[in-house]
Amino acid sequence: MPYNVKEIVANKPSRFTSGHRMCAGCGAPPVARHIMRALKPEDHAVVANATGCMEVSTFIYPYTAWTDSFIHTAFECAGATLAGAEAAYVSMKKQGKLPADGDTKFIAFGGDGGTYDIGLQSLSGAMERGHDLVYVCYDNGAYMNTGIQRSSATPKYADTTTSPAGTVIPGKTQCRKDLSKIMVGHHIPYVAQTIAYMNFKDLYEKAEKAIYTEGPAFLNVMSPCPRGWGYPTEDLMKINKLAVETCYWPLYEVVNGVYHISYKPAKKLPIEEFLKPQKRFRHMFKPGNEWMIEDFQRIVDERWQELLDLEEITNKNK
């Protein structure tokens, strides 16, 4: 059946309820809600969260926004915690300690702090060991929960509270880490980059594939943060669109090592279009700082070309 967002929203009740306390204009809740919708209605899920915005806003005792089973332990170990739950499932199912009918799926959500940085080891371990789970990184490019500190996912030149755009140092001086490629390096069956854009089709279909691919899967989902990025809350979808149309956030998937770019803009927009609406890049537009924009554009172009090359190389022998 072809994807139809209206039908999905109408026919699949949200498993991530309203009443949570995430900010207006935050990119993460629509991501979580739509990924959870990709579950088959008859399947149960165990969801794990790394400590972060999502966790502290969706499960404040005694209230929870999650209708499936949910566990949060600490910041750096959503991967290992969920791996333990999955191992329990495998063991108990094998021993006949759980009902034979129906499946349980395992989905972790972590921000970029809990995934790219402090949780990288735990994530890597879970992926390498081959647990049947999906790890979703909602990447907002900084430690937003503690107040916008730079992470290894923060783009170059971004103004954060620990990489402030100062008079001597113009924001973050290092490039983003490419976590999706690190995950590809684990030779897991499914890795994808996606975003809530174009009726959420890309997000939904990749979530469905990730959840129903046997073995470990990783989804990297760009999730803008109005406070950290400095855009009006109603502009969330506009920011997502510009990230894709400038090729700042390419949409692609890697299935058993083979790259497939999900969307190639007919006309790649200049990176200024993405940078300009965000206060974190405001200093880049001051007279004399044009070189920063040029450098940023160069990085985006190089990464995009690299992706095109990888797609070509990995499809050669198919």
Partner: protein, 400 residues
């Protein structure tokens, strides 16, 4: 006595691994660290040879070992692990989370000095670092006790009025790598004794989804911590009840502590784990010489048996508490503080001294223990304690 029991010769690590095999937990998640490495090693062979139903999760760190145990236990499984020293240090964050989530995870802790500097040998600094973490802590003099304590662990931890994680301690190398005679219980009897784990609420119950590990703010956290404290108090009676059942099965008697020639003693040592064996040897020797020496070997360090210890030591003329970890607080070791505090609040005054000993695997010989009793006799004679916070076996200036 149980005539059907199996006589074997095993190291402490083999004994622990054998207990785990007989318990047959659903999940074991562990990471190698000396001197406990052999436990997951032996256990992996049980898994790969089909002797257990366990999923073995070969994690990439101890932090992940405890995280995976938490995930597994919350999911409804029985989860176990083993570690030592820095491994426990790396788990520290998750140790507190395990107990706060009221998950009866069982750990075999093979005690070793915590870095730094790096040292792989035995002392109790690892265990002492988690003494306020809300885990039940049992100590074992020898391989037999390490085995027996593990067999009793789940019945204690999983009791409805307890629901707390539990660690069984034994001394690294001293017992973990020493082969001793041991009496094993038959597999089917262990299975029956340990029983199956039937959690009330668990993640994998799709008919009743639950949420575990909230943000728990000012309005509730205090009550939740008080609940943990209450469970720890409840654990004391449960430990005694389980010991009674265990005695019925094996004939081996366990309590909160062992009193060795203590009832008519005038001077006594309080200590834990393998040093108790050396101390018993010295007590016997001194008794032959007419010295009324005794020993209180603590088995249950958490919950701390406050009234029972105070009562058991009340008739003595002087006591020495041996701490195999220094608290670096300019006051004395943790066991010393707990024992003296127990006596104070029970209005019992017995002259007491503390000896920090055996740090980083420093050998503690019978002569060393005997010197403590000599000191105690001197205290009884003079009524004077110059310095209650002492070292035993520390190299003095000029010593080789």
């Amino acid at each position: 006595m149980n005539n059907m029991s199996i006589r074997e010769r095993l190291s402490g690590n083999e004994a622990a691994a054998t207990a785990m095999k007989q318990i047959n937990p659903d999940v074991v998640a562990a990471f190698p660290i000396t001197p406990s490495t052999e436990i997951p090693q032996y256990f992996s062979t049980f898994v790969d040879n089909g002797l257990v139903d366990t999923e073995f999760v070969a994690v990439e760190s101890e932090h992940s070992a405890m995280s995976a145990c938490i995930g597994a236990e919350a999911a409804g499984a029985r989860a176990m692990t083993a570690t030592s020293a820095n491994g426990l240090s790396l788990m520290w964050e998750m140790i507190y989370i395990a107990s706060s989530l009221r998950l009866p995870i069982v750990m075999s802790l093979v005690n070793r000095a915590v870095s730094g500097p790096l040292n792989i040998h035995n002392d109790h600094s690892d265990a002492m670092g988690v003494r306020d973490a809300g885990w039940i802590m049992l100590f074992s003099e020898n391989n037999q006790e390490a085995y027996d304590n593990l067999l009793m662990a789940h019945k204690i931890a999983e009791n409805k009025n307890v629901m707390l994680p539990l660690m069984v301690c034994q001394d690294g190398f001293i017992t973990s790598h020493s082969i001793e005679n041991i009496e094993l219980v038959e597999d089917d009897k262990v299975k029956e004794f340990v029983g199956t784990y039937k959690p009330e609420h668990y993640l994998l119950n799709k008919n009743e989804p639950i949420a575990v590990g909230p943000l728990d703010l000012q309005a509730y956290l205090f009550e939740h911590k008080a609940g943990q404290a209450e469970a720890m108090k409840n654990a004391k009676q449960v430990i005694l009840d389980v010991a009674k059942d265990f005695e019925k099965m094996t004939g081996r008697k366990y309590s909160l502590f062992e009193e060795y020639k203590l009832d008519d003693a005038e001077i006594a040592i309080v200590c834990m784990n393998s040093t108790a064996g050396t101390t018993k040897f010295v007590v016997d020797k001194l008794r032959e010489q007419g010295v009324k020496a005794g020993l209180l070997k603590l088995r249950v360090f958490r919950p701390f048996p406050v009234e029972e210890i105070a009562k058991a030591l009340s008739h003595l003329k002087a006591i020495a508490v041996l701490d195999k970890a220094d608290s670096l607080n300019a006051a004395g070791g943790a066991l010393f503080e707990d024992v003296t505090s127990a006596m104070y609040v029970n209005n019992i005054h017995v002259p007491a001294v503390n000896y920090v000993y055996g740090i980083g695997g420093r050998d503690t010989k019978a002569d060393d223990i005997e010197s403590v009793y000599t000191d105690l006799s001197e205290i009884v004679k003079t009524g004077k304690i110059d310095n209650p916070y002492r070292y035993l076996g520390l190299r003095k200036e000029g010593d080789k």
